[in-house]
Amino acid sequence: MDVIYLDNNATTRVAPEVVDTMMPFLTSDYFNPSSMYDAASGPAAAIKQARRTIARLLGKVRPDEVLFTSCATESNNTAIFGTVAANSERRHVITSAVEHPAVYNVAKELERRGLEVDFLPVDRSGRLDMADFVRALRPDTLLVSVMHANNETGVLFPVEEMARIAKETDPGIIVHSDATQTVGKLPIDLSGTSRHLDLLSFSGHKLHAPKGIGALFMRRGTRCRPLLLGGHQEDGRRGGTENVAFIVGLARAMELMAERRDADEPRIQAMRDRLERELVARIPFLQVNGAGAPRLGNTLNVACHFIEGEGILYQLSSHGICASSGSACTSGSLEPSHVLRAMKIPFTAIHGSVRFSLSHYSTDAEVDRVIEIFPSIVANLRRLSPYWDAAANRPRPEAMSMMDSAAAPHS
């Protein structure tokens, strides 16, 4: 059975072009770039070139502002713990209630260590209110860390604007954004619209490079302590022998994303929009999470009222379709995702969320297949649900009234 991979916000297929670029550094050019002999100059030059490429693609920043890490989680940890350690006179951090765990749990840890953290709320569409943000700014605000796009819903946050407001308020405030879901997909200009951002995290495996490589943009002059102490690599800002092959792969993947962006993004968005339209038309009581907010073009997060997400994923999987869910049974805890809870998705729907995320490799035929299969999967589970009237194909009357009390979805 062919796999239909629609979980690209989790990870992506490695582009064959990227693998080709990496191969020499996994075979003949294995030398440590820090070594003195001639043979090491190949890997050293390759890193230098990769750094230049990435710096250019982030909006012509300086190459020495790009740090290589092992993943976006490391980049986020470095950005947050590093700035907190280097700016001990300030003790207040602003983030959002819907961050990826790599920021959310770091922020929770800061609270445990005695810092004060504001988690900005979102509305039912997943949007932040700028007035909340402004009110949260304080004289001792150290760091603002807000993601560029949410991994679960694809909702985009106005981080450029937030960075400007923070800097106009107090240039001492450091602004970080976890851009793991946007780098590659959206053009990022750290010398232009994003010039107020000090730190930006992302990883390779979300943009068709392999897992195990991440990067952190760190603007010159940003006060930040290293997380990994060791050798003098990355100018002493991140110890550890450079992961040459993966660094080269990351640069190649970013080049490919940039080259393909103009053709890819409209095509991907059109597929997503079609998927959304068709599913909404075919499935009653289906809600699109994040509808009404600006969203990434590749992400569709739907919530099916009165059924549970794990059983949906299981059936999808039996058809070879890979997607993910924010339901409790798939989250590893007994609670549905904190993102959907922050959006106040009604409890009649929150357990039945499914996320489809597309990529360059997604095809119309794959989307067709999901449109064909998904409605029956939902119907199968609803037939089993004590809240559903299978004969009338609608919720039972008592379940309908639960929907009203469960904070009706925002349309």
């Binding site: 300030r90 445990r112 005695g114 001792d140 407001i165 049974c329 639960m402």
Partner: protein, 319 residues
């Protein structure tokens, strides 16, 4: 995290969703026993119904002939519901005899369940118990006289321990004993208590205290105490000589008199979002909000007016 369900579990699930032969999905109209457990808010819920072959003289000798379920829940919750119905139908139980079926029997029927999914089997046993109680009421059987005590009211009456899942002290205590739960993860796996915000784990009267009450106090690891906040040094920022209240009043007055009239002409307006010392945050609304020159307008118009009228050091930040 991938699924590690037994083949039996996945077979029962897939057969149920496909509505295949032998599935017990459904609801018996006008049943002899009906029991429910769980809620949609908590993530799983089961409605269980059965029909009996009525004994002509002694209802205690009724025999369950048919069992059906409707389940909202994950793969294993649905499989556990199938298992429950199958066990009952295959065993020709009397309702009272069916009370001997435990969640362990369900787990065994499924060839095992992952630890975190044990609560799915517990849900089945609970719904069965509720249905038998319901049958007893309908058939006028006094279970208490038979020495069977089904505490139907403990959920309503006891002190709430885990608010996330709405579980009370008597219920949790009973389950700790019945299912021999020794640790907080045991409790969470079996009845979900403590599986969400976790604030009920170590509070006084919380899950650990209930465990200690049943099994005696076990030596526990010292938990790390939070580090206390250090004194913070606020950054110096220029302030107005006016009190914050007076200053805000002044800002509003100037905006009302000098800025709003101009914006109104174009069908727009200005919203004052916040004031921090000498920084005034505002945003354009209405017709002006889409104007490309919006930020500029604010800067020029509002900042100039405020500087002239109140304080040269005022800065305006567009939101």
């Amino acid at each position: 995290m991938t699924w590690n369900y037994s083949q039996k579990t996945t077979e029962l699930f897939m057969n149920a969703v496909r509505g295949g032969p032998g599935s017990h999905m459904g609801e018996i109209a006008d049943p002899d026993g009906l029991g429910e457990h769980g809620s949609i808010a908590c993530g799983d819920a089961l409605r269980f119904t059965f029909r009996v072959n009525r004994h002509p003289s002694d209802p205690r000798l009724d025999v369950i002939t048919e069992a059906r379920y409707l389940t909202f829940g994950c793969t294993s919750a649905i499989a556990a519901s199938e298992a429950l119905c199958a066990i009952i139908e295959e065993g020709s139980y009397t309702p009272i005899g069916a009370l001997k079926i435990t969640n362990d029997d369900i787990v065994r029927y499924l060839d095992g369940l992952p630890q975190q999914k044990i609560h799915c089997s517990v849900m089945g046993a609970e719904a069965l118990e509720a249905a038998v109680f319901n049958w007893a009421q309908r058939r006028g059987v006094n279970l208490a006289e038979l020495g069977i005590d089904i505490q139907r009211d403990e959920q309503e009456e006891g002190r709430l321990v885990c608010t996330c899942f709405g579980l009370t002290e008597p219920y949790i205590l009973r389950k700790i004993r019945e299912l021999e739960l020794r640790t907080i993860p045991d409790i969470t796996n079996a009845i979900k208590a403590g599986g969400a915000c976790m604030s009920c784990h170590h509070t006084p009267g919380g899950l650990q205290d209930l465990l200690d009450q049943v099994w005696g106090k076990q030596p526990t690891m010292l938990r790390e105490l939070p580090v206390l906040p250090t004194a913070r040094v606020p950054a110096e920022r220029p302030r107005s000589e006016l009190s914050p209240y007076k200053f805000a009043k002044e800002v509003e007055r100037v905006i009302d008199q000098q800025v709003r009239p101009q914006l109104h002409k174009d069908g727009g307006d200005l919203e004052l979002v916040d004031i921090k010392d000498l920084i005034v945050y505002c945003r354009l609304v209405g017709a002006c909000s889409d104007c490309v020159a919006g930020g500029q307008t604010l800067k020029l118009l509002v900042e100039r007016a405020l500087k002239d009228e109140i304080d040269e050091r005022i800065r305006v930040v567009a939101v």
